[in-house]
């Protein structure tokens, strides 16, 4: 993975602007949702106001472990994004980001609160639901390309991996904490689940970690389009992200929350099925059958 100065600069810029982009996407998301519900909605910079406000509040902790796990989670997700934008190994990205999610769960478990416990258990179930699908998609990318190195992908994944992209949309709905699978952060049910005992700056740290986590999954989505021309490449990548987010938003607004059992059942069946069919297709094409 040899990199020149320009490459390093591009990676650094991506690393800084990706979370900012996610913050903007969240603002636009709230605005569009508001318009879908015939409301005006908050300004699109709302996510940044929320974050800065939380950082400015007086710190309050249940125990020291909470802060340690929140910061660990943020660092893990940031590292995962750094590996991704530097053109590193997708498997490393996956496992580091997964470790970050587990740190977040431990943070929720560290506070003695029923809602926090519920939220942590449900977060574990969410990880159980989406993590195998995400791993299989990454393995499929490796099967298709013969390598997991992001920097080595120099053509669109979309033609050969379109079903894997659909599986990623299911993962995205869970990662963005949207209906029908906002199981862990279920606001009306368990207040905000794993976030419930966090407040002020520490809540902001966990939110920021979530931005990085979202940036990682959106970054994997952008791999599905590639073109020699930078402008076309960027436009294609952006449109895949916009379409995926919009799809998850529509799903969010037309569905009610389902139970955690149904989430695990549906995500694993549909996700693994999509990946399996896709892999079979690639195999048959290679054998010259299709």
């Amino acid at each position: 993975m040899s990199m020149d100065l320009a490459g390093i600069l591009v990676s650094a810029a991506l690393f800084i602007f990706a979370p900012i982009g996610v913050g903007l996407i969240m603002g636009i998301d709230r605005k569009v949702t508001a318009h879908m519900q015939n409301r005006v909605g908050p300004p699109i910079t709302q996510a940044f106001y929320d974050l800065v406000k939380l950082f400015g509040k007086r710190p309050m902790l249940m125990n020291r472990g909470q802060a340690v796990f929140a910061v660990t989670c943020l660092m893990m997700q940031a590292m995962a994004l750094a590996v991704l934008v530097a053109g590193g190994d997708l498997l490393v990205v996956f496992f580091v980001s997964g470790a970050g999610s587990v740190a977040f769960v431990l943070g929720a478990f560290s506070a003695r609160s029923p809602y926090s416990y519920f939220g942590a258990q449900r977060e574990l179930l969410q990880i159980l639901a989406y993590e195998p699908v995400l791993l299989l998609v990454i393995l499929l990318i490796g099967y298709d390309r013969g390598s997991f190195v992001v920097g080595g992908i120099n053509s669109s994944l979309l033609p050969s991996l379109i079903l894997a992209l659909l599986a990623l949309v299911i993962v995205l709905v869970i990662k963005l904490q949207k209906s029908p699978y906002d199981i862990a952060t279920a606001h009306q049910e368990i207040v905000s689940g794993p976030y419930v005992e966090y407040s002020g700056p520490y809540l902001a740290v966990t939110k920021l970690a979530n931005w990085f986590e979202t940036a990682v999954i959106l970054g994997i989505l952008t791999l599905f389009f590639w073109n020699g021309n930078v402008a076309i490449s960027v436009a294609g990548k952006a449109s895949i992200v916009v379409i995926a987010i919009f799809a998850s938003q529509i799903i969010d607004n037309i569905t009610a929350r389902l139970t955690k059992e149904r989430m695990v059942k549906f995500t694993l069946t549909a996700g693994i099925l999509l990946v399996a069919v896709n892999m079979t297709c690639i195999f048959l094409v290679r054998q010259g059958v299709l």
Binding site: P42, Y49, V191
Partner: protein, 161 residues
């Protein structure tokens, strides 16, 4: 610091607590969250969690049973925070002020920033109350030199019955 102050005013998350209200004012607060009044356009979210909240909207005359819980909720909210008393009962106890089981207004239990009159308080009035509270916050924020001063102020005004 200016950025943080501006963000604070643009993103006040609310917590609603019913201290024995007849539900008239509560219904009006819920109306704020509906598309007709859409309070989210001010960045206000209903958080139902004192640890995430910046504004405490209280309805009802504060019965003796609920008094400790109100104080607990107030103490669990991280500084800086605001309290808005919604409706006549929350402001003065109104028809219940002489009752043996009632405190007569939340001002007797925790410090209040803005009183919104009305029985029930109209949604427009509640929005005005919240905006007024944010304005006093802004003035307090920019007039005081140190951060600690702004935080201590409510504690000093605390009235115990």
């Amino acid at each position: 610091m200016v950025l943080s102050g501006r963000s604070r005013i643009k993103s006040p998350w609310m917590l609603h607590f019913d201290t024995g209200s007849c539900n008239g004012c509560d219904i009006e607060i819920w109306a704020l969250l509906s598309p007709r009044y859409d309070i989210e356009r001010f960045g206000i979210l209903n958080k139902a969690n004192p640890k995430h909240a910046d504004i405490l909207l209280v309805t009802g005359p504060v019965t003796r049973k609920v008094e400790d819980r109100l104080r607990l909720l107030y103490e669990q909210m991280p500084e800086p925070k605001l309290v808005v008393a919604v409706g006549d009962c929350a402001s003065t106890g109104a028809p219940f002020s002489d009752c043996y089981n009632v405190n007569g207004g939340i001002g007797r239990v925790i410090p209040v920033d803005v009183f919104v009159p009305g029985c029930a308080a109209r949604p427009e009035a509640i929005i005005d109350g919240v905006v007024l509270a944010l304005k006093t916050w802004k003035e307090r924020k920019f007039s005081s030199k140190t951060k600690d001063e702004t935080i201590k102020e409510p504690r000093e005004r605390e009235v115990r019955n």
